[in-house]
Symmetry: C2
Subunit: 356 residues, 2 copies
């Protein structure tokens, strides 16, 4: 790894001052955000607040990879050519059909003097913002990729803006484990913010990745009781085997509001703070009904329906604060990695689910 010399005046800079959101890298159509753009400028020369990363691996979004594989009937040459074509045309890896991207790992190559990201050349990092808004240029024709999985070994570079998010991959943990933690690190960070000492916390999906981290975060924030909801006896056994993560285990179908609320009540509920960590549709009513009046529900499931949550609370005359689980909280990756290190049951659950 070598540190490049200071960046020369670049075409990007020549177009005007750098935008922390990367607006100066948007070529087409002008004036939209990088994620909404058809084409970005992936020129290697960085603006004073940008960072250039030497990319070693793309991790394509599952939906994107599936679409490519199905379109080209699994033919590795055609899949490879399609991905190369997308990146060359758009200056980013955003599947035009699915609209989705993925993330990348690489090594910091050059850091602009005004970059606020706190990175240093030589650090191995993962990006926590989507590839759909990350300028990217591939230089090795993806010759090392067999096209058989969404893991794409590669050589090339990517650009991070002032408001990009990247996390340093720690030396003490296997990379797949760190990536799995970073993938869900917004949930424990927001849980920590919302939980106050002495409350009862309900974690729906407590044996999963975001759920187990959120349970540990609730505990660390001082929750007096942590109740974990799981759908099956098998998952309950996982929680029992990993003692200390939750105080009470509830086996319930989170889509059944009355059943979930009744079992939560028996386990010491209703909850002051409920965290929904299962990617199953129809959990809004159960979460609301299991939460005390004046309490808070954090929805971390992408299967959450905005209108089901809003109308559900109204229909139940439930005075609950409902939060959209924002995947970004400053320091979220470091906090989640520290939680994993400090909480053996969380690490054990993750290691069961992540295969390096």
């Amino acid at each position: 790894m070598t540190t490049s010399p200071p960046a020369p005046r670049t075409s990007a800079q020549a177009r005007g001052p750098a935008s922390p959101l990367g607006l100066h890298r948007v070529l087409d159509p002008p004036g939209v955000l990088p994620q909404a753009a058809w084409r970005l400028d992936p020129s290697p020369a960085i603006a004073p607040d940008e960072v250039r990363v030497r990319v070693d691996r793309l991790n394509l979004d599952a939906a994107s990879y599936r679409q490519l594989r199905e379109t080209y009937a699994g033919d590795p040459d055609k899949i490879r050519a399609a991905v190369l074509q997308i990146i060359a045309t758009r200056g980013k890896m955003q599947n035009p059909v699915t609209g989705s991207g993925g993330m990348l790992t690489g090594t910091v190559e050059e850091v602009g003097p005004q970059s606020p990201l706190g990175l240093e050349p030589g650090q191995r990092i993962a990006t926590l913002v989507s590839l759909t808004l990350t300028p990217l240029l591939i230089t090795d024709s993806l010759y090392r990729w067999d096209g058989q999985s969404e893991q794409v070994p590669c050589d090339g570079h990517a650009i991070l803006f002032a408001r990009s998010i990247a996390a340093v991959l720690p030396d003490d943990l296997p990379v797949p484990l760190s990536l799995a933690v970073m993938d869900v690190c917004g949930a424990p960070a927001l849980t920590r913010r919302v939980v106050t000492p002495g409350v009862t916390a309900l974690i729906i999906g407590a044996a999963g990745k975001s759920g187990s981290l959120s349970a540990a975060a609730a505990r660390q924030a001082g929750a007096a009781k942590v109740i974990g909801v799981v759908p099956t006896e098998t998952e309950a056994a996982l929680l029992r085997d990993n003692k200390g993560l939750v105080d009470e285990i509830v086996i319930a179908d989170a889509r059944d509001p009355v059943g979930l609320a009744a079992r939560t009540q028996t386990a010491g509920g209703p909850a002051d703070v409920t965290v929904v960590c299962v990617d199953v549709a129809g959990c809004e009513g159960g979460a609301i009904l299991s939460t005390a009046q004046g309490g808070t529900v954090i929805f971390f499931s992408m299967a959450t329906s905005f209108s089901a949550a809003a109308l559900g609370a109204e229909g139940l005359a439930a005075d609950v604060t409902m939060l959209v689980g924002n995947g970004y909280v400053p320091g979220h990756a470091e906090f989640a990695l520290d939680l994993l290190r400090a909480t053996p049951p969380v690490r054990s659950l993750f290691e069961k689910r992540v295969h390096p």
Copy 2:
């Protein structure tokens, strides 16, 4: 209006103690919430915590009425028969195709001794929970309804549970005006909760019903500056004609994040609290980008996409708290009616939009 004698022991009570959510009124399938039920028991005898209302008008949900009118080609007899059939079969007015209901007005007839709703016999009220979960029995065959609008004059009764929501219709305001205020009263109530003295508030859709009330609520809660966003010069003129509601007017397309954020900045932004009150899809990014780091966005539009909000904030590295606009906050109807009375520009805007 007469007060009925104490309720006799009823079939509902015979099935066990009354549930504040009305579970004891659910006939089919058993164990689900009233809104999810196929059939409710609309027996007139009330449990100790219930209230019976003499109904004088149903206000069908617009989508429900449209579906009925189109299915029966506008034939009044067939539309009337279909609505009667739904209510007789289901014990509630929930259109089986659209799933939606509406609300009702009527007069309180009997109040159980343990009802927490604070109602008294003889009061004229509107229900603020949906007809989809309200036991209802019609006794006049809807003979006064011409089937030509979603306003259904009728005679019959409805049951309110302990956790139902109803508001007394005030004597000093026309009923259509009160109903229009009650329809959006969750927005100003939650805005008041979130706004703290000295903040900058951004109201997207400030010339609309929920928007103008939210602007007034932000002002009352001590906002130092209220910025109103409207889509057109016509709407801007409405705000200018009703002085004092907002401090700054921004004309922008709320679906254009970069444009909205730039204009908000010029008007004194970014905002500490942003309230989204326009029922247009695609406003998530603009709301997030116009809000300061550490600020809060309240989404009151039913067109809000949960995933667009969650992923949008992450993609912008925006550390903003995002709230699902809960339509229920205790005291919300009274607060909104008081705001309308105390804020001439709000009343003027409402009167332009509501035709008694």
